[in-house]
Amino acid sequence: MKKKILSVIVSGFALVMLMPASSFALAAVTDVTGTVTDNGSPVVHAHVIVICKNVVKRDYTDSSGTYLVQYKSTVCPLGSPISVTAVKGDAGGNNYGKANKVTNKLNVAIVNVSLPEYGLITGIGAAIVGGAAFMFVRRRHLSGHQA
């Protein structure tokens, strides 16, 4: 009887000892954190959208420009691609990475100047070739008219 009681206490103790480990295993998380900056200064209250394995999580940056979202490690396991988008008003920025460890740091630089529709060279190129296309069509039609 004593042995039985002892074995119950021991197994109970073992169970209690094992409990945190199992609960820890269940709650294992992948953190994605980072700082959102604009010209090197932290951006407060930027809307941050983090995507890992098709699961979207959102957060707002705090007073130091930091955001944090947590995924269960089963949802966002190691090696998964992570995308972070930060938006503040009309400014925004992206960063990409992989979940390499429990806490993944992905900083985002917000840019309030977007890439132009045309760069200087491409704009000139578009204007010249666009104009040349017209001149080509014009020459064809006008020489046709004269003939």
Partner: protein, 314 residues
């Protein structure tokens, strides 16, 4: 008599060719100045303050005006004796470069935190001076006086065109938020047809399950609209006598709408490429090239289809 007329015509052609050459050099200097100073102002967030916001539209309008004036002069060649380019014109060019250098330094001061109104005033004067001096350097002050007298009417028309174009640009640029919203919703719908669903994060961010993308001012197609309008107006100036005026005017809004549809397709294809291939490559490397390619493609299709019809005088 015939020989005299032929000689006059030859001289007119020579003068026009000379003028065009000098205009080409001036345009090159103008583009170099804009291309060097513009990005410095834009990338440091100075574009919307200190009076710099006027230069985006003003630069384009001025460039458009130079091309329009060149066409007008070419169409109405006059017998004007121009003085040869003299090395003393180089003094104007040196002044122009010095003024430009001053503007560059002034912008640097603003970037490093200079406040007050002195630097912005100095920079604005320096920018305008660099362009005016370059004009003097390319054409020569005596030639500029001669040309002003000979082409008074053409200059007045050009001035009216520059003002109209500037107002048009001002109105179009004011529409960018509305245009971006249309693109945002159209692209969301088009992407849902292909497969990927997305969510809109106000004001203008589209989030997919892989990345998010902003439909910003420069995705709204306003630059294409400005470029198309300029080319369209130049075509009008060049061929006004040959064109059916009603058709020419009617087809312009249709051309703009189809151009806007092309821009939606451009953004859609970029996002599609970003989704299925690589977002970094699609949005960084191909963003501006796609704009150029689509504009050229559109120009070929548009003029190929519409020009013959525009020429028909009912």
């Amino acid at each position: 008599m015939v020989t005299k007329l032929k000689n006059n015509s030859l001289k007119q052609n020579k003068t026009a060719a000379r003028l065009l050459k000098r205009a080409a050099v001036f345009i090159a200097i103008f583009i170099i100045y804009s291309g060097v100073l513009g990005p410095r102002i834009i990338s440091h967030g100075l574009v919307n303050k200190d009076g710099f916001q006027i230069y985006g539209g003003l630069g384009k309008s001025l460039l458009f005006g130079i091309l329009a004036l060149s066409i007008l002069i070419y169409r109405n060649k006059k017998y004007v004796t121009l003085k040869n380019w003299h090395y003393t014109n180089l003094i104007w060019i040196i002044f122009s470069i010095l003024a430009f250098y001053g503007a560059w330094q002034g912008v640097g001061k603003l970037i490093h935190g200079a406040t007050g109104t002195n630097w912005p005033i100095f920079i604005n004067i320096a920018i305008i001076a660099s362009i005016v001096f370059a004009l003097g350097g390319c054409f020569g002050s005596a030639n500029l006086r001669t040309l002003t007298k000979a082409y008074k009417k053409e200059l007045k028309i050009t001035l009216a065109l520059i003002v109209s174009f500037y107002i048009f640009l001002y109105l179009v640029y004011g529409l960018w938020q509305f245009l971006s919203l249309i693109i945002l919703h159209c692209v969301k719908w088009l992407m849902s047809l292909v497969g990927p669903t997305s969510t809109i994060i106000p004001p203008r961010t589209l989030v997919f399950n892989k990345f998010g993308i902003q439909i910003a001012e420069y995705c709204s197609g306003i630059e294409s609209i400005a470029l198309f309008t300029a080319l369209y107006a130049l075509v009008g100036i060049l061929d006004w006598a040959k064109l059916n005026h009603k058709k020419f005017i009617y087809i312009f809004p249709i051309g703009l709408i189809v151009l806007f549809v092309f821009n939606i397709l451009r953004v859609f294809i970029l996002i599609l490429g970003g989704y299925y291939i690589n977002p970094k490559i699609a949005f960084s490397l191909f963003h501006t090239y796609a704009g150029m390619l689509f504009f050229i493609l559109y120009s070929i299709i548009f003029w190929g289809v519409s020009y013959k019809w525009m020429l028909q005088k009912d």
